[in-house]
Amino acid sequence: MLPDALKESPLAAALETWNPSVVAGGKFDRGELTLEIAREKIVETCQYLKQEQQFIRLSGITAVDWYPEEPRFEVVYHLHSLERNQRVRLKCRVGGDPAEIDSVTGVWRSADWYEREVFDMFGVVFRNHPELRRILMPDNWEGHPLRKDYPVHGYKYSYKDSTG
């Protein structure tokens, strides 16, 4: 169901007409449109937005960790349409161990590195990604640095006992 705040947005309305089960929520805040998408529908939603709504560019994929909430991760997609000069943010809540979501590399090839980065930093697994391995951290690194339960100085060192 579309929240009342989004009834005004033509894009949200178009998505709703196309498939009513896709949009799980959203908001229009500080001039930016955010749509929460059901996790299973992310690939077809992106496909639809790219092909029918001219969102030919994927500006980036990232994630936010809301630990200790569950499901803890929010995977965030920033889409951009040059033709409409418009941006939209898609969000999917994912949880579990490992947290999994379908890869959108089939829709935009640029998603390749973006998803690898999210996997590397958060440990979110992208199903059907052609080569899901670490991109910034060394291959044998332990843990996923941008998780909220990962200490900023890493696991190797502890500053607890140090004085001064």
């Binding site: 500080r30 500006s59 990232t62 090839r109 900023v152």
Partner: protein
């Protein structure tokens, strides 16, 4: 690999050579590793390995107050620190709903365009040096030095300026800055002519760059490329025009485009961008509005020294901002600006506290580099160097 020929018989199977380029190769401009599969001199397959310069800036931002994190943004794209400062500050200011006075906005435009000149000069110098034109490098760094001196005059720092702060500028612009910037910007177009004299019609330069590193516009959009490379393929898209920020809509300038989408076209686009940036700086200099250089927001912006010494309230504000920072209303913002390399995006998520819950930096070099294999596959090895130069990536921006 098969056995070498013994009787001088040619071998049936083609021999492929795996070549490792970098991470310590001078033309990779930092620490980028390329793995090339060669058939003779032709590149059959290419892939790149990044992450050698990862410093965890996004993680560190979560540990700092909003104002402290400004200094980290300098270190991302170290050739365009002010663009990064600007993008981050704009994002946080939008979260705060803060209004920036016109003088500060124009000053930001002026200095960001100087940053574009600075960045393009380093690009041109090192790009030409890679291909063998050493003189250009020396000329470019001569002008770059002037720009860095101007930055030092404003902020006290040559490179890691941190001159834009949330709410305006870090310091009041120094007395007499107009004359210094004016002297530089009036002379600058003649310097661009000098670079062009050396390169634009130079037969060696043209042979090394024309028709090299071609890639179609569709491929680039699909692979996440932004900035001058798209404009060299004919797409007239510039965030400064499409989604104006910091009063860019009040300036008069053109977006240069070319159609060929090769290394030479990217060179032409960036040279023209330097001329257009010069126009913007000149306009900013001539029409600079009067007014304060920081916003009137006592809970966010540090008070004047004089007030702090005489007014109790200002002293309390100063103490609070310095010790615990300021709370930012919960919400999220994705701010996009046109950095010298393309679309630079900062995604800042606030949970209402004085420290950002998440800062994601989408550097233009990250997307641009992804298209590199597509550009060099099928080319000869020597062209990799000129193609790499034309992408103009900064590894700090890729690895963050």
């Amino acid at each position: 690999m098969s056995e070498p020929a013994i009787n001088g018989e040619p071998q049936a199977a083609p021999r492929r050579l795996a070549l490792n380029m970098g991470p310590q190769h001078p033309s990779t401009h930092g620490v980028l590793r390329l793995m090339l599969e060669l058939d003779g001199e032709t590149i059959v397959k290419a892939s790149s390995e990044i992450g050698y310069l990862h410093t965890g800036i996004e993680k560190q931002c979560e540990e700092k107050t909003y104002q402290q994190a400004v200094t980290l943004t300098d270190r991302i794209d170290y050739l365009a620190p002010l663009s990064n400062n600007l993008c981050y500050c704009l994002a946080v200011e939008r979260l705060l709903g803060l209004e920036i006075p016109p003088f500060a906005q124009w000053m930001r435009v002026l200095l960001t365009e100087m940053t574009r000149l600075n960045s393009h000069l380093v690009w041109l110098g090192s790009h030409a040096l890679d291909i063998g034109a050493m003189t250009v490098f020396l000329y470019c760094f001569r002008e770059r030095e002037d720009i860095l001196r101007i930055f030092e005059m404003f902020s006290g720092q040559r490179m890691m300026t941190s001159y834009f702060r949330i709410g305006g500028l870090a310091l009041e612009p120094p007395r007499g800055w107009q004359a210094v910037v004016k002297r530089f910007i009036e002379a600058f177009p003649s310097h661009v002519d000098e670079y062009e004299d050396l390169l634009t019609n130079n037969p060696i330069w043209m042979r090394r760059t024309k028709g090299v590193g071609r890639i179609s516009l569709e491929d680039m959009l699909d692979l996440g490329v932004t900035g001058p490379m798209l404009r060299a393929a004919g797409l007239k898209w510039d965030t400064r025009k499409a989604e104006p920020y910091s009063s860019y809509e009040q300036f008069d300038y053109e977006i240069p485009t070319r159609r060929e989408s090769d290394v030479y076209a990217r060179y032409q686009v960036r040279i023209e961008e330097m001329r257009q940036s010069t126009r913007i700086v000149t306009q900013a200099l001539e029409g600079m509005p009067a007014g304060p250089w920081k916003a009137d927001a006592p809970k966010v912006v540090l008070p004047d020294r004089e007030k702090m010494k005489t007014q109790m309230e200002a002293l309390i504000h100063h103490f609070k901002i310095v010790t615990e920072g300021f709370g930012v209303p919960a919400g999220e913002v994705y701010q996009v600006i046109e950095s010298p390399r393309g679309e630079l995006g900062y995604y800042v998520v606030s949970d209402g506290t004085a420290r950002p819950h998440r800062v994601h930096i989408h550097g233009p070099s990250f997307g641009n580099l992804q298209a590199l294999p597509k550009m060099i596959e099928g080319q000869i090895l020597a062209d990799v160097v000129s193609t790499l130069g034309s992408v103009d990536f900064v590894l700090g921006d890729v690895d963050r």
